[in-house]
Amino acid sequence: MPNIFDEYHPLTGKIFRILDENGVLHEEHAPKFSLEELRGFYRWIIFSRVADQKALNLQRQGRMGTYAPVLGQEGIQIGAASAMQPQDWLFPSYRELAASMIRGLPLANIYLYWMGNEEGSRIPEGVNIFPISVPVGTHPLHAVGAAWASKLRREKIVVVCFFGDGATSEGDFHEALNFAGVFKTPNVFICQNNQYAISVPFSRQSSSPTIAQKAIAYGFDGIRVDGNDIFASYVASKAAIDKARSGGGPTFIEAVTFRLGAHTTADDPRRYRTDAEVEEWRKREPLVRFEKYLREKRIIDDGFAAQVKSEAERAVEETVTQVEAVPSHTPNDVFAYMFSEMPQNLKEQLALLNESLSVKREILFGDTMRHGVPE
């Protein structure tokens, strides 16, 4: 196989694409997937969309807090997560529902998290995912540290880190990529360039024409990939992961995609982008082309699609029932995880809280203060 990182060097201006927006497969770098694998990808994308839409519905009904939808970005997430080995680690930001589910994170965790329940980030043992990181651009450093630990122990574990176009403006992004370059850590950095950081278009984020070329500053490979193309996303991620595993150091992938929905449920995207722009991107979104390809190749049909959809809906409904039965926080939950052993001051404060709650509530917590517009 020719080295795609040389062929698609960022300064060539080329974008790595295998399945184009019309569902046409370009053979050159095309991966060989089994039918089962292809159907599996389809299942994940549908599952992700059903879960995503359900979260939006729950939010509208007041059953979930602020939620950040993934719609439109499943291509790179499914491609990259599928290219990982079981022992590898995923470091998500906050919009990686599809990637996280593929890596084995129960949807219940994701729902609990956005419902504002601390249990959401209690990642089950054996699921190699780091928790959601809200401060933008800060977690690539953790991913570098994790990969560094793997390298020091000669474990052959690769760490894949997701973040957005906005994240590339943060100092921590720079320090992370710079460390990765210096220590040649087994990292794959995946920037989902979904064109906007909330309302801010990439043109205002940086005057670098591509994000991929930022890799040049750190002395390792960068590549621009069509993030709505599962195949190209898979192949590029796989190449980067293999390289990292074999000691070739980090790779930076710019996955060009588009967030079809709002930034979060608190955002109104019509303030900053036109319907025409969204429609343009809708034509290029990952499911349309992939489904076209699968149907044309007769890998799936209506019956299969209907079955996958209803399976997904059932599973999601079950998850909702399950998470809505999870009890709310107790005072102990607030204090118990601050340190491995609770220090005296926290014990005293916990006792005070318990005492104050046991006192008969003489006046109710007033309703005068309704919150503003959270992000």
């Binding site: 601390e118 607030v334 926290l346 007033g366 503003g372």
Partner: protein
């Protein structure tokens, strides 16, 4: 004309003195609208004033604090920046030192820390470092505090860190009138001001806000309610939790004096000490973690200046030395009227 005794927020029997300095009432505004009005008027008045931050332009800010301002003043003066807090504050320091009057918005206080080095190492030191040759007339605005059911890092209340930082002022309004007057004062201040806006009461608290030019002085607390039995000290959203507690306490015959600090750095020790000398009892309320919070400083100050006047040990009702929980748990963390009531009772019964 604004009556100095008018009541910008709800509960009865509460006296709010607004340091009014002219102007005409035009509207009942909420706090975020008052903030918006202050910036709009100052930008009209002074072409050096500009706003920079994430999503402040096109989108008008995630809380709509800068709504409409880019349309009015153009993209050069209301600037959507890269997602880069240190960049925002660091370039604003340069802008301020070179003749502009930047207002930097940090989207939430939980994201101010990447800019902390620029604040503590440069904004707060430039005047001193250069013996007055350069100064940094900069305002850093940011929503802060809990109770808005938001994700992790969106409910921070670390004002004490800034109060401990030399060379900067820290201002926190609790109502729309003060928000506008304090923000105008902050914009005109020749030194850096951290302006913390209690997100929880951005929309819930309305009040009459005069149109046009007035300032509320930085560095002066206000007695929000006069009383004889005990001094309650609060700021920001906690003022309103305190007011709820006061309603119940008044029914019990406890006559609470409520101080709204408004500026937490420098502290208005005169107003605090005068009140404590009268009441002899004091409870401080804040939502920040307890240890090394501002409550501690206020108590130490009272010890220094009014020790013999104390009839009981000063009380603190605060957040805990934990992380403020996600929405399902934040009611357990934030001070409640109940916790204030029991702290006041304890101080009264001492």
């Amino acid at each position: 004309m604004v009556s100095p005794n008018r009541q910008p927020f709800a509960p009865n029997r509460i006296l709010i003195i607004c340091h009014e300095e002219g102007g005409r009432i035009v509207a009942e505004l909420n706090l975020v609208e008052a903030v918006n009005a202050a910036m709009r008027e100052e930008m009209e008045r002074d072409s050096r004033v500009m706003i920079l931050g994430e999503d402040v332009g096109r989108a008008g800010g995630v809380f709509r604090a800068t709504e409409g301002l880019q349309k009015l003043f153009g993209e050069d003066r209301v600037v959507d920046t890269p997602l880069s807090e240190s960049g925002i504050v660091g370039t604003a320091i340069g802008l301020a030192a070179f003749g502009m009057r930047p207002i930097a918005e940090i989207q939430f206080m939980g994201f101010i820390y990447p800019a902390f080095d620029q604040i503590i190492s440069h904004a707060g030191r430039m005047r001193n470092r250069t013996r007055g040759r350069f100064s940094v007339p900069l305002v850093v605005r940011t929503p802060y505090g809990g109770g808005i059911h938001a994700p992790e890092h969106h409910s921070e209340s670390t004002e004490a860190i800034f109060a401990h930082t030399p060379g900067i002022k820290v201002v926190i309004p609790s109502n729309p009138y003060d928000a506008k007057g304090l923000l105008i004062a902050a914009i005109r201040d020749p030194d850096p001001v951290i302006f913390l806006e209690p997100a929880r009461i951005y929309r819930s608290i309305k009040g009459e806000v005069p149109e046009g030019d007035y300032t509320v002085p930085i560095g002066k607390a206000t007695v929000a309610r006069e009383g004889e039995s005990v001094t309650l000290i609060a700021w920001g959203a906690m003022l309103h939790v305190a007011l709820e507690a006061i309603e119940a306490l008044t029914d019990e015959g406890i006559d609470v004096e409520l101080i709204d600090l408004r500026t937490i750095s420098p502290l208005d020790s005169d107003t605090i000490i005068e009140s404590v000398k009268k009441t002899g009892r004091v409870v401080v309320v804040h939502e920040a973690p307890k240890t090394c919070g501002l409550g501690a400083e206020i108590i130490a100050l009272i010890n220094e200046k009014a020790f013999l006047n104390l009839s009981a040990p000063p009380g603190r009702v605060t957040g805990f030395d934990t992380i403020i929980p996600l929405p399902k748990g934040e009611h357990l963390y934030l001070p409640t009227p109940e916790r204030i009531i029991s702290a006041v009772r304890q101080v009264m019964e001492y």
